[in-house]
Amino acid sequence: MADLSANGAITGSNVAVTPLSTTDGRSLKTALAAAQSRAKRRALLLVLPLLLFILISFVLPIGQMLLRSVHNDAFSANMPVLSAWFDENPGKAPDEAAYSALVSDLRQARADKTAGLIGTRVNYDLAGSRSMFTAAARKAPELEPPYRDAVLAINADWGNPALWQAMRSASTPYTANFYLAALDMTRDPQGNIVRVEESRRIYVSHFVKTFVFSGVITAICLILAYPVAHMLATLPLGKSNLLMILVLLPFWTSLLVRTTSWMVLLQEQGVVNNALVATGTVDPANRLSMMYNQTGTVIAMVHILLPFMILPLYAVMRPIKPHYVRAARSLGASSWTAFRQVYLPQTLPGIGAGALLVFILAVGYYITPALVGGASGQMISNFIAYHMQSSLNWSMAAALAAILLAAVLLLYWLYDRLVGIDNIKLG
């Protein structure tokens, strides 16, 4: 409509209004749109490989992994009869029909060899129940009615309301229990959400610790990197390139080599302690503990992440002309004011980029804390690794990872609001 009235305006009211058209009589507008969409499709074809690559190698596996944090059908898929009973009898205490359903499912589980799988699922919510399932499944074929008495005769714990509560919550494949557990919470036998006992509260404190550590590491990196980047940026190119190699050399060295070098340097019988004892600065009986604790984690991670701060800072500082600061000085600004009001604002995009890079890398760091962190220097990623590799509770690992991801995205959003994501310059 818009172009029609435009045409009318141009051609005047006494001339018949005809839309512009191509030589083969099609409207120019449709022809143009068709040509443009063809070009767009062709452009899409160009980025398609990358898009597919990201989808298959990144979005799908991560999505599938995160799905596990709310979805676990080990119980519901292998205990269909009992799950159906739970569906039909919400909130009801187990009766003979429930025990009969339990026994029939356990018999099937015995035949399919899935009793361990079922027990493991319930064990996530109620520790100590896995072996009850495997033991009961072994005996299930010989059980005779009344099943309630027969099952309770195997192990009186089968009458435990907490166990039935755990089975009920496992009978639906979708559950929020893993998120509760990842936040140090659980459900009591009445189904209310409560915090776990104090001796088992571990995840929340480690989430906090992870973010505090990452913040501290980012701050130290910034303080160390700023003068270095400034020097590199102001030196003549020949010299600064030479010095740049010193920054890049560790960057190119294997992570494990750098981490183990720190172990050699900082352990109690290590180079630094030996030197301090030899010079008499430290008493041989009280050697400094700088390794296998938080100190070790922070030192090693600062060293490893430092180049990620220096490089963006350098890239931003290099093109800043020295004239601005000189002009400020000549107009009477003190050196501090000139730095604060003239130089620093120009380097903000680099600080933003470096800080974000270092912080996000630090949040997910796993190898270095595992090697040098000892007991007190562990981060949340080490617990994700524990659930991936040792406890095999991938749902729990996924829940922890999802919370970590959400927290990082939240921080990123805050950062965007406060600093502005356009204010970032990587080089």
Partner: protein, 356 residues
Amino acid sequence: MKKFLALSCAFSTFAFAAQADITVVSWGGAYEKSQVEAYNKPFMAQTGTKITMTSADNPAGPIKSMVESGNVTIDVADLEYTDALRLCDEGLLEPIDPASLPPAPDGTPATEDFLEGAVTECAIASMVFSNVYGFDTTKFSDQKPSTIADFFDLEKFPGKRGMRKTAKANLEMALMADGVAPGDVYATLETPEGLDRAFAMLDKIKGQTVWWEAGAQPPQLLADGEVAMTTAYNGRLFSAVVTEGKPFEVVWDGQVYEYELFGIPKGAPNKDEALEYIKFATGTQRLADQTKWISYGPARKSSLPLVGLFEDGKTEMAPNMPTAEANMKRSLRTSVDFWVDRDVEISERFNTWLTN
């Protein structure tokens, strides 16, 4: 790294074409050497199948991600009992038919020849290892530690301690040190009070403890002087003493022993060869031969009489086995059921305890 493996499942199409060579993952150090000498070399000579041996802090670690991503690169894994059971429960290991195992030389079928519990649905035990503690004799001149209680007694025996960074074995040792009879340890640990009691014992030495993770670490910690005494796998300490001449001594009192098993991950690229390897390695003679290189007890009864001298040709191996009578006076076999049930709960508590 392992997460990366799981996530890169989409790339499994790029996996290299399977070769008939098998990959065995074990624990490194002196233990791995004993397997190379006793199993791998004769197996390669006999069958021509090449064996690649790699090591991990715990070979059970990568199996689940490998199986789920369909990119299994391990043929045989050397597993702890609880891990083997848990992996088997989750359907991550190939079942192994016990009837296919070779009988003892006198014709006794394998199922009777193996020690009780050594043959499971998915994994076959090769040997018995033990968690013991050892100390540096140069650090204790007049009085030497001799009981498990001494390990937890900082007043009588000052000095740093080393312990594995897991709850398993440590809690059992703590209770035995506190005077609980080995037979009552697991019944005690199942009660909240018993668990508190074990942690209270660990509290006594917590401030002086260095935590280790890989089996090769504790002898190194002792040798470096980082600790005065440490828990360790008995074979590692034995190797350090006999082959490297270190001044260490093993205390058998309060030992916690368990089986070590071979399993095949589900979908292993060379399953048949892997099974052949396990049958070969858990044969009577091979198990007996292994004791020539490390002091772990064979899992077959028929291997015991064949146990001879260490590779140095002079050290009698029988008294250095966890299963030797003198070493078994106060000892405990790890309860697999207890740990598979409670591992996560107790590990959470253990980790909380560690960081506070």
